[in-house]
């Protein structure tokens, strides 16, 4: 089941690359594959036994035996939700890319599907080397997706993005070599806990850059601005979650002592990122800048939740990963839709778009309100749990988080009013129509997922760890 979930998009990508399809059928095939992937995931969700602890749908095959490396995949409760986020967001991105019509559709769609497979692989790999392979495999399509289909500054943005992330990844590779060989296995389920600070920092470097954590976010604004909207959506919505997953699955689980030693510095960096990102988002002059920096802030919040290492924090951060993934994907796609109509993302040149465009106004406002963590929204549930979690580690952390939530309200409302309200901006003409049905078809399911989670956040918080005892689960190494 897990293998099928990984291989289906990869196989579809190969088919799209090899067969000489025309643009329409290539896009349609990609969308079909993405939807089939969602269907498969729903089946997995239904068949997953949340009452049971340990790995499910696992599969293990020997890869090379002399160093004890194997192809080992499987899912836990929280990985199911992250895989769900991946397949839903990717389906939306592929649908949007198909509708907009990118150049060289076959290559584009194939790469997006390839990326889907790689991300699902990251969330389900249970072998360190396999995890690394998928983690790196994400970079291959992303490099090209940003570099070929991006905006005018794409070359510099891509270079920065790749150098940053690869620096982290290669440190992780060194850490994996040392960790795996010293424990004589690379199996994530069996490998014992380690107390080596250096190995821990090797992993943390990779995840902190990917997430990104302050002050390693140098690549973020460029990459998010230059990528096409759907790729930016995937980058911030899905790919960054691979880092948060890494913190959860490897950093705190396998290195409890170093995680304890370094808790304060990491929480501090995350808190700084949270507040600094929120301030930057409030000052950013363009749509994508706001969303990009809010993403930095949210990743800081999620990291705080993970490094609180207690039931509330961990459950909250898993919920918030899914929330932020959906919010960020929808917001980037909406930003893309606005930019398509106005040819600009500068807030100063936008405005007044609510008038005569009810669908856009409704969807943007709904997403915005959810993302600023209004009570009853799923983001409120997630952030509240995280704040409660870090409160147990020190009230100062919770205070930082609470300040950031106020800031979140400020930048989201600024974004919403700059686009929708005020007088008509110079870039907004009457020719800028309301959202088309196809665009609604892309965004509304995402918003619907958010609303469903708002109604029942316990769907995730109650079904991520065995018996909700996240801390015990982590301490046991998810066995």
């Amino acid at each position: 089941m897990t293998t099928v979930l990984i291989l289906l998009p990869l196989a579809a990508a190969l088919v799209i690359w090899v067969l000489p399809l025309n643009d329409i059928s290539a896009g349609a095939l990609a969308l079909l594959a993405a939807l089939a992937e969602v269907g498969l995931w729903i089946q997995m969700l239904v068949r997953f036994d949340f009452g049971q602890s340990g790995l499910q749908f696992s599969q293990q095959r020997n890869w090379f035996s002399d160093l004890h490396v194997s192809y080992h995949v499987g899912v836990y409760g929280f990985s199911v939700w992250l895989i769900g986020l991946t397949v839903i967001a990717m389906a939306a991105a592929i649908a949007y890319g198909f509708w907009v019509g990118r150049e060289r559709v076959r290559a584009y769609m194939g790469l997006l599907l390839f990326l889907t497979g790689a991300v699902v692989g990251v969330f389900s790999a249970q072998d360190l080397l396999l995890f690394y392979a998928f983690f790196e495999a994400m970079m291959i399509p992303l490099y090209v997706l940003v570099g070929v289909w991006g905006g005018p500054g794409r070359m510099a943005a891509t270079l920065k993005f790749v150098i940053y992330t690869m620096a982290g990844s290669l440190l992780m590779l060194a850490a994996i070599v040392v960790y795996g060989l010293s424990q004589d296995t690379f199996d994530l389920v069996q490998i014992g806990q380690s107390s080596s600070d250096w190995i821990f920092l090797g992993f943390v470097a990779a995840f902190a850059i990917k997430a990104p954590l302050f002050p390693l976010h140098g690549w973020l604004p460029d990459a998010y601005r230059e990528a096409s909207p759907e790729v930016a959506a995937i980058l911030s919505g899905v790919v960054s979650k691979a880092a948060a997953y890494g913190f959860l699955r490897i950093a705190i689980t396998k290195f409890p002592d170093p995680a304890h030693h370094y808790r304060t510095p990491i929480l501090a960096l995350a808190a700084i990122g949270l507040i600094y990102g929120s301030l930057l988002a409030f000052r950013a002059p363009d749509l994508r800048g706001v969303i990009a920096f809010s993403s930095l802030a949210q990743m800081g919040l999620i990291t705080m939740g993970v490094f609180a290492v207690n039931d509330l924090g961990l459950n909250g951060s898993v919920l918030q990963m899914v929330n932020h993934g959906l919010v960020s994907t929808s917001l980037f796609l909406l930003a893309g839709m606005v930019e398509r109509r106005t040819l600009t993302g500068e807030l100063a040149r936008l405005g007044g778009m609510a008038r005569g465009r009810p669908a856009l106004a409704t969807v943007l406002l709904t997403t915005g309100v959810i993302s600023l963590a209004v009570p009853l929204s799923s983001a409120f549930a997630g952030e509240f749990l995280i704040l409660a979690g870090v409160f147990q580690r020190g009230w100062g952390w919770a205070l930082a988080g609470a300040v950031a939530i106020v800031l979140a309200a400020m930048y989201v409302l600024r974004l919403v009013s700059a686009v929708l309200h005020r007088a008509d901006g110079p870039a907004v003409s009457d020719a800028a129509l309301d959202l088309r049905p196809a665009e609604l078809g892309v965004v509304v399911p995402l918003v619907a997922c958010l609303l469903a989670l708002s109604a029942w956040p316990a769907a995730i918080t109650g079904h991520s760890f065995h018996d909700d005892r996240a801390q015990a689960d982590v301490a046991r190494g998810f066995r």
Binding site: N62, F64, L67, I140, V144, V162, V178
Partner: protein, 488 residues
Amino acid sequence: MIPRPHIDWFALAPMNALLAVSAIALLSAVLVPRPWRKGVASAFCALGYTVALGFAVALYVRSAHPHGVVADVFRRDRLTELAGIIVAGSGLLATAISYRERWREDHVGEYYALLAAAGGGMLFFVGANNLMTLFLALEWFSICLYVLCAIDRDRLGGLEAALKYLVIGGFGSAVLLFGSALVYGATGAIDFPGIAAAGRQHDALLLFGLAMIVAGLGFKASAAPFHMWTPDVYEGAPTPVTAFMAAATKTVALVVTLRLLITAFSADAHVWTVALAAIAVCSLVIGNFAALAQRGVKRMLAYSSISHAGFMLIPIAADSALGARALLYYLVPYTAMSLGSFAVVAARERELGVPVTFENMAGFGWERPLLGISMWAFMLGFAGFPLTGGFVGKFYAFAAAYRHGWTWLVIVGVLATLVSLYYYLGLIRAMFMRRSEDLQLAPIGGSPPRDALLQGAVFACLIVTVGSFFAVQPLIDLAKHASSSLPF
């Protein structure tokens, strides 16, 4: 009646096949009419390599018990045959890549004759079991390669490359020979087990000789600081020759280094492991930093080959069975990646008629999807990305270094990889992210030739590069059996 040693002709069959086709190809230069000459010579060359490949495979299967051949000057074991398989495969692909090279075809018979003869020399080299055979085989294939570099007289820089290679290669051989003489002086033996058995470790004369032999082999493996010839020769030689040199010469030089050091000098391991690690670090640093500045794709690949000499010396320096496996595994994707990447350069060169630079690779990826995607895979492989064997190869090399207790070498390797990303990804960027409309290309007339042989060769390299990522276990088993013939 003079007593003759028993000769295991089967063990010598791969070389003999190549020598035979070399003779036939040479004769075809005189006897076959000009229009058919290329076809006949290349077909025989390909046949020779195919037969050699077949024999090497058969010998691998039937050489579970290693033994000496012809009075023990040559080892028949799985290490020899695995290297032989790689060399014969490279030769076959190089023949395919050469077929449509645009050059004056008045020496095409000699070209294929030399190509086959070089392969024969390399097959002999990897099995060498004493210093005399080692030197003879080294000269055998080196002389072929000197001529091959110069064979295209119209090529700018070809003669310069050949002369440089001749002088520096000759110097390298002389160093190796002198080192051999010193070792003989110290131990009174020229056969590898004899040197080991002489029990003269820590002898200054022996160590000096060892250092000179390592330097001589370093010249062939193009490891820094013995790399000076590499960029010029790789750039100046006809691209198919470069492809063959980069793949096969490096393979045999590294395999022989492994065999020689483990078999003959294992008692001095504490000395040469450090020396090799130092050479590896030198190669990684010089190769990677020099490659950053290159604009010519062939020169960039030349420096990348220097840095890969460094990567592949790491497992030898680890002095362990794991290291030997790591080296032998790494050689498989490495050979495929270098052959393939030079083949793609050759294709672009034939299209444009000018030396290939980063600038004129622009748009290539979209224009020729197969070659572009293959080149993409080769670059990712060199950079050690997953989904290529280069990833697993590097992983193994690092694992061997770590097991030896050299975590610092792992870190150096990782940093070198990081630096290398700039130019490997830079080529991908040049191929895919620039538009060909931005550039003024000057094709040499008409549409580029349909070159099924070259594309087939590139596709085969792609399959090996990607396949070796998935089929690690079978390849490691091959390498394990091959390395078991060494006395660890």
